[in-house]
């Protein structure tokens, strides 16, 4: 997936992104990081075509995103939102089943056996008939991930997927995403935790004020000056035993 000179401006708001050009390497985990309001979620929403590109173009497998039909796109790109709203009770099986909708006509119902593999890979088989609001935050996150995986996407987008998870589940999720990338899925996520981003990503996008500051491998971007400039806060890189380099924010002026 690639962005070429992509811009988007929210109506009546200063925020948006301007002239962003960058790549998301296939089969790798790319994490978009940057301060609040930098335009991270905007990038994700543009990639999911939830927002229209105002200028430039986004390509997926060499084809402009705009050329995909809604259904074709749903078979290629899946999105796990930061927060999910439901208007009525749904069971785990029903939610994961919605991920199969891109492969069925509107009047067909999704057969249960089609959903089973995605429940199995996310460890939800036992919970298939459970109502989602009865589940823990970690389990709920898995349900939405399973629904996205059921779309069999080439690109998986996740907007701050660790927000409501405890440390244990955060680690598990990060490892699962890396595992998914090895199966050929391009994972693109937005994270707030810089260390997590550097630790679990193959590729990073640094965004500030709607512009791509730089992109590259974590080892190449782990520079205190660059990060301090991006986040506008003093940053040092320290070495932690058994963990290696660790980015810390230090008291500034």
């Amino acid at each position: 997936m690639e962005c070429q000179h992509v811009s988007y401006q929210y109506p009546h708001q200063a925020a948006g992104i301007t002239d962003v050009t960058g790549t998301f390497p296939a089969g790798q985990v790319t994490t978009v990081i940057g301060p609040n309001g930098a335009g991270k979620s905007t990038v994700l929403r543009l990639l999911a075509r939830q927002l229209p590109v105002a200028a430039g173009q986004i390509t997926l497998a060499g084809k402009s995103l705009g050329q995909y039909t809604t259904k074709e796109l749903a078979q290629q790109v899946a999105m796990v939102a930061q927060r999910h709203q439901l208007y009525d009770d749904m069971t785990v099986g029903e939610i994961v089943g919605t991920g199969r909708l891109p492969y069925h006509s509107l009047l067909q119902t999704v057969p249960a056996e089609e959903v089973a593999p995605y429940l199995a890979t996310t460890g939800l088989t036992q919970l298939v008939d459970e109502h989602i609001q009865n589940l823990s935050g970690g389990q709920q996150q898995r349900v939405w991930l399973a629904a996205a995986l059921a779309q069999e996407p080439a690109v998986l987008l996740l907007d701050e997927p660790t927000t409501y998870l405890d440390v244990h589940y955060q680690q598990k999720l990060m490892q699962q995403l890396r595992q998914l990338a090895t199966t050929g899925i391009t994972v693109i996520q937005v994270l707030h935790d810089i260390n997590q981003a550097f630790r679990f990503s193959d590729w990073l996008w640094l965004i500030r004020k709607g512009q791509l500051v730089t992109q590259g491998r974590p080892d190449d971007l782990r520079q205190a000056d660059l990060l301090a400039q991006t986040f506008q806060t003093p940053i040092e890189i320290v070495s932690v035993p058994r963990l290696g380099p660790y980015i810390v924010q230090v008291p500034g002026d």
Partner: protein, 322 residues
């Protein structure tokens, strides 16, 4: 589907059959089981006339109306994502009623006038409900709906002071023409509703989530809205506006058989048919020889139900998950 859903289905079907038999027997003249069987065999008897000309069309009409209104309520609740959305509370029924009356005064020559005008009225109300910000805010929707309802009721009262034909919203005097009209309109609508029930389930997700899985949100939203409107206004065209069936029945259905619309819709259809028949039968027997209209009966039952639902339920906002 809930654990005991099949039992509830069995229960409502049994209740429906029992109530139909009682409705055939009850009335100004009580017909016992023996008289009932005599009437069925002797086509010249007064009892036969009572059953076939008066009670049977009335029973059929109320069954179809109840089923249609309950399913219309379930459809509106799915589309508006609001557990108390219903054709009566949103002003769709009263708009249909007003247009029907207007049609009777201005276009008396128009064939199929009552139905066409009721449909037009329902459509006008739908446009008002969906054009502003009401869709995004469940409380605003209900307030707009209530205002719309009051407006059309007022307009109807204005108009009816000079009209010859005023809607009474009762099954009293239902003819075989009414019953067959309702049967044809209702069966078509209910069949399509059962077919499209999975779409109502999709609308439990947000529009953004639906677009992500390639579902054309506008198509399914408007299809279900128009279908609900068609079912509700068909009832209004023939009988008049009857409140609350669409709120009471689907909400009880969710409690009993679960939240899957593929189960809620057929159950609502059966339970709505039963409730309407029970309300009408009760209304025409408790103060014989006079009677209470079905609309009044439903207002008495439905009003407190809505109050309890809002005071004790989880409110009108959906739920958030992580």
């Amino acid at each position: 589907m809930k654990q005991y859903a099949n039992w509830w289905y069995g229960g409502v079907i049994s209740l429906l059959l029992v109530t139909v038999v009682i409705a055939l027997m009850a009335g100004t003249v009580w017909l016992g089981p023996q008289q009932l069987s005599v009437a069925l065999n002797d086509h010249g008897s007064q009892a036969f006339v009572t059953i076939f000309s008066l009670r049977l069309p009335r029973i059929l009409s109320s069954l179809i109306c109840g089923g249609s209104l309950a399913v219309a309520g379930a459809l509106f609740q799915a589309v508006f994502r609001n557990p108390i959305a219903d054709p009566s509370i949103l002003g769709i029924s009263s708009a249909a009623d007003f247009f029907k009356l207007g049609g009777a005064m201005l276009l008396p020559w128009l064939p199929g006038r009552a139905w066409l005008m009721a449909l037009l009225g329902g459509f006008v109300a739908l446009v008002v409900l969906t054009s502003g910000r009401a869709l995004a805010d469940p409380y605003r929707l209900i307030i707009v709906g209530v205002a719309l309802d009051a407006t059309f009721v007022g307009l109807q009262q204005l108009l009816s002071s000079g009209a010859t034909q005023v809607s009474h919203s009762t099954f009293n005097g239902s003819t075989w023409l009414d019953a067959t009209t309702l049967l044809v309109l209702g069966v078509i609508g209910l069949f399509v509703a059962l077919l499209l029930a999975p779409w109502a389930n999709y609308l439990k997700l947000t529009d953004a989530a639906l677009k992500n899985v390639g579902v054309p949100v506008k198509v399914i939203r408007w299809s279900l809205l128009l279908l609900g409107m068609y079912l509700a206004t068909s009832v209004t065209a023939v009988v008049g506006a009857i409140p609350f069936v669409g709120i009471v029945v689907p909400n009880v259905a969710r409690r009993l058989v679960g939240h899957d619309y593929q189960t809620v819709m057929p159950f609502s259809m059966l339970a709505g048919a039963w409730l309407m028949l029970a309300a009408d039968t009760l209304g025409r027997t408790i103060i014989v020889p006079s009677e209470i209209s079905a609309a009044t009966m439903m207002a008495v039952i439905g009003g407190p139900f809505v109050i309890i639902l809002l005071q004790r339920g989880r409110g009108l906002h959906g739920m958030s998950t992580r």
